[in-house]
Each structure stands twice: as C-alpha cells, then as structure tokens.
C-alpha cells in the first residue's frame, strides 16, 4: 500500500485530483480511528480528520518523501491532535460503554466474554497512561506503525519509542496483576 500511496501522492502533487481522492479513500478510516480514540467523540474526530487532510493538501508541495506517505500523514494527524488538545481541556475520553460498543460492533479475535472483558479493561488502562506513552501505544499498536515509523511521527528516536513501550507494558502488566486477585475472589 505504501508504494501505491507514494505513487498516488506523486500524482496528487502534480495536480491529479483523482489520485488525491484515492489517497483519502485509502487513509481516512485509519486517521479517523486514530483521532477518534484520542479525542473521545465522533464529531471532534471527524473535524480533526478534515483538518488533517486539509493540512495535508497544503503541505503536499513540501513533502520530500523522506518517510512513507502513511507516516507523514500520521505525523500531520498527531500535530493536529496536539493543537486541538492545547486549545481545549480534554475531559474524559472514551467511556467503558464506547469500548464495549466498539467491540460489539467490530470483528475481534476474542473468543469469549471473559477475554473481551479483559481487553476492555486493558484499553481503559491504556488511557490512564501519560500522554507520551499513550501516544506511543496508539501509534504502534492501534495504528500498526513500526517502531521507526512511530519514532518519525513523534519526532523521537526509535530507542525512545522502545523505552516508552516497555514502560507502558510494565504498567499494564502491573495493573493486570492487581486486578486478577479481585477477579478470583469474585
């Protein structure tokens, strides 16, 4: 997809509207999902997605293809989200019901209700992480970016991404260990 995206991007730079439309079709779901998880509601996510693509078209001339188009687009979305977050105080993000609704509406690999409950709990713990670690987890795990792509988006070294992921996993494992006894008691 990356090669195809780069070809489409090159055509869009030359003014091909059809190629730009294809790029939107390819990426809008991923960008919307990324911003939806971070912003907490559909309307804001839709606005942020529109802003992201608007800024993409504005900056298309300056795209030097040092990274893939996907990484570059995620970087723009990341900065759009940071700008938006700076302007408003983020309240509570996703509620438990939202995660449950998402799990119910989308296909998941969970085999039973207990596993699905564990996953919901895990996603809530992710939202408890500090902003840097949360961003890293979202980009690497939820958006399926590689370590280097995540590092490019966040503007940090790959080693920093590894460190943040390790810290996040430690935190999630600890939280999991804390809750397991309660479950056994229940």
């Amino acid at each position: 997809m990356s090669d195809a995206a780069d070809i489409l991007c090159e055509r869009a730079r030359k003014g091909d509207l059809f190629a730009a439309s294809e790029l939107v079709t390819l990426f809008y779901q991923r960008i919307f999902g990324y911003l939806r998880r971070l912003s907490g509601n559909d309307d804001d996510a839709a606005d942020l997605t529109q802003k992201t693509f608007a800024r993409t078209w504005q900056s298309l001339e300056s795209y030097k293809q040092r990274s893939s188009f996907s990484t570059w687009l995620h970087g723009i979305a990341h900065h759009v989200y940071l700008d938006w977050r700076r302007k408003r105080t983020l309240g509570d993000s996703q509620s438990d019901e939202w995660w449950e609704a998402q799990s119910d509406n989308t296909p998941t690999p969970f085999e039973n209700a207990a596993e699905r409950e564990t996953a919901h709990q895990l996603y809530r713990w992710v939202d408890e992480l500090d902003e840097e670690k949360k961003q890293t987890v979202h980009l690497h795990y939820y958006q399926n970016l590689t370590l280097n792509e995540t590092a490019d988006v966040l503007g940090v070294a790959a080693s920093t991404v590894k460190y943040r992921l390790r810290e996040a996993l430690d935190y999630l494992r600890r939280r999991s260990a804390e809750t397991e006894p309660e479950r056994k008691v229940v």
């Binding site: 003014g15 997605t49 895990l122 795990y141």
Partner: protein, 322 residues
Amino acid sequence: MNDTTIEKLLFHAPKPLASPDLLKRLQADIVLPNVKPAAKAREGQNPLRRWFPALGFAVFMLSCAIMVAVQASWSTKLKTENTTLRATTADLPKLREQHTALEQAQAEHDELVQLQKDNAELHSLQAEVAQLRDLPAEIQRLQNENQRLATAANSAHKSGGDNFFDDAAQQLADAKARAERIQCVNNMKQVGLAFRIWAGDHRDKFPTSLVVMSNELSTPKILVCPSDSARQQQYASLRFGEFQDNMTSYVLTVQPDDESANPPCIIAKCPIHHNYLLSDGSVQQVNLKNPAYREVQKDGRWYLQAAEPGSTWNDAINPPAK
C-alpha cells in the same frame, strides 16, 4: 497477563468506523494548491527554456555549417597556392643546373683562395729558413764567448776570491757575536730588574736563587746566554717548574743583603761575554782586550774597580803585585 497477551490484545484493538459522509466531505474538500494545468504551466515557463532543445540543435548545425565553410575556404586557398607553386616549379631543372654551376664556381673560388694562402705561407717559410741558416754561426760565436768568459772567471777566482768570501763570513760572525752580546746584556738587565722587584717585596733582601724569583721573571729563556749554545738547546725552552739554578749561564755572586751595598756590588756575571750585573740593576760590559774594570773582592762581595790603562784582562783579574 503476560506481555504477549497484552500486545496481542493491543494489536487487535477495535477500529472505530467513520461515517460515509466523512469520506464525501473529505473528497469534496480536496484543494491541491499550486496546481497548474499542463498548458498553463508551459505558458509560465521561460520561452528560452521551452525552445532550448530546438535552439541547441540549431546552434550546433550552424556551428557545423560555419566550420565546413571555413574548411572549404582553406581548401580553396591551398589549391590556389598549389597551382601557383606548380607553375613556379616548371623552370626547376634549369634552376638546378644554374645552382650546380654556381656551386662549382664557388668551389673553384674557394680553392683559389686556399692556394693564395698556401703561397703566402710558403714565402714566409722560405724567409724563416733563410734566417735559420745563419743561426749555427751565431751559436758557434756565442759558445766561444761563453768559454772565454768562463776562463776569465776561473782565473779571477783563483787570484783573490777566497779572501773576499772569508772576509764576508768573518763580518757575519762578528755581527752575530755583537747581537748575542747585546741580547746577553738585555737578559741581565731583565734579571737585575727582577732582583730589585723581589727585594722590594722582601725587605730589601736579594734572593740567592734565581728560581725563587720566577714570578718576577718573564721566561727562563732570559737566564740562558744566547751564546751558550749547549744550554740554549737544553734549557731555553723549559718552563719555570722544570728549571734549576744550575741550568743558568750566569754565575751568581749575590749576597742576601746586597741591595743596600754601596758602591754597587756584582750580583751576577756572564762568563762568556764578561757582562756584569750590579746590585743597582745596571750592566757593565768589559772589553777583554782593553778592560776598563777589573773584579775585586771585599768582605765576601765582588766589585768592579777601574783598571789601570794598558792592562790586560788577566792583569785586571790578577793585578800585578806592587
């Protein structure tokens, strides 16, 4: 939960779905900045840049045409020159014959000049031979004269030449003797000065040894008479550290308290030249043939006393009993 489980769950997190309206809105919002249609873009370009390939080819062709024209011009010019030269060289055999004739004439001329030179040299050689023919007679005359002069010189030498050389040798020996005597006097004066300096530093007492006053003497050489050839060879070049009193040519007659003696007594004498060093530092020369002084001993000291006129040196030393 272990890390693998956590990562698996995170990788398979639910993906929020956007509404289809969003896609339409996003596609409608696409604005590609700085997009120019191809024709417009071409209009915006520099015309030179647009026509550069055609212009480049045209310039290349033009330069080729110019080069061809220049080469054709050169070729025509060379052909013309060639034709002219061919026309000129039509008379070449005749010119060659003329050139050969000229070369022969030049060679004959050179040969003639050479012959003239040889003739002049022959004349000069003939004159030289004529001069050489007279030379043996001249040589014979010179040999005869030389023999006559040699004979005359031999006879002159036999008659009085020895006396002349003997006189010259005698005069030379006399001059040398006088020089040595004067040098001896000079030595004794320096020794006398050293005696007086030493006495000045030692309560007017004279030293009874020459070695003790070595600091006042410039060199041991002045302690050896220049006519004393044996001592000159052995001791004159020694240093004061090696010099002994018995190595001097002079006879010391000094007494420890001679400085205050009046009249001045003899403190040293040269047995070769009969020069006397007196305690006042003066040096008296005594002529042996006609001595003006004679040695006299009084109270253990030696003095010089005026000798009687007409007495000899032996008389002066041992005066006849009255």
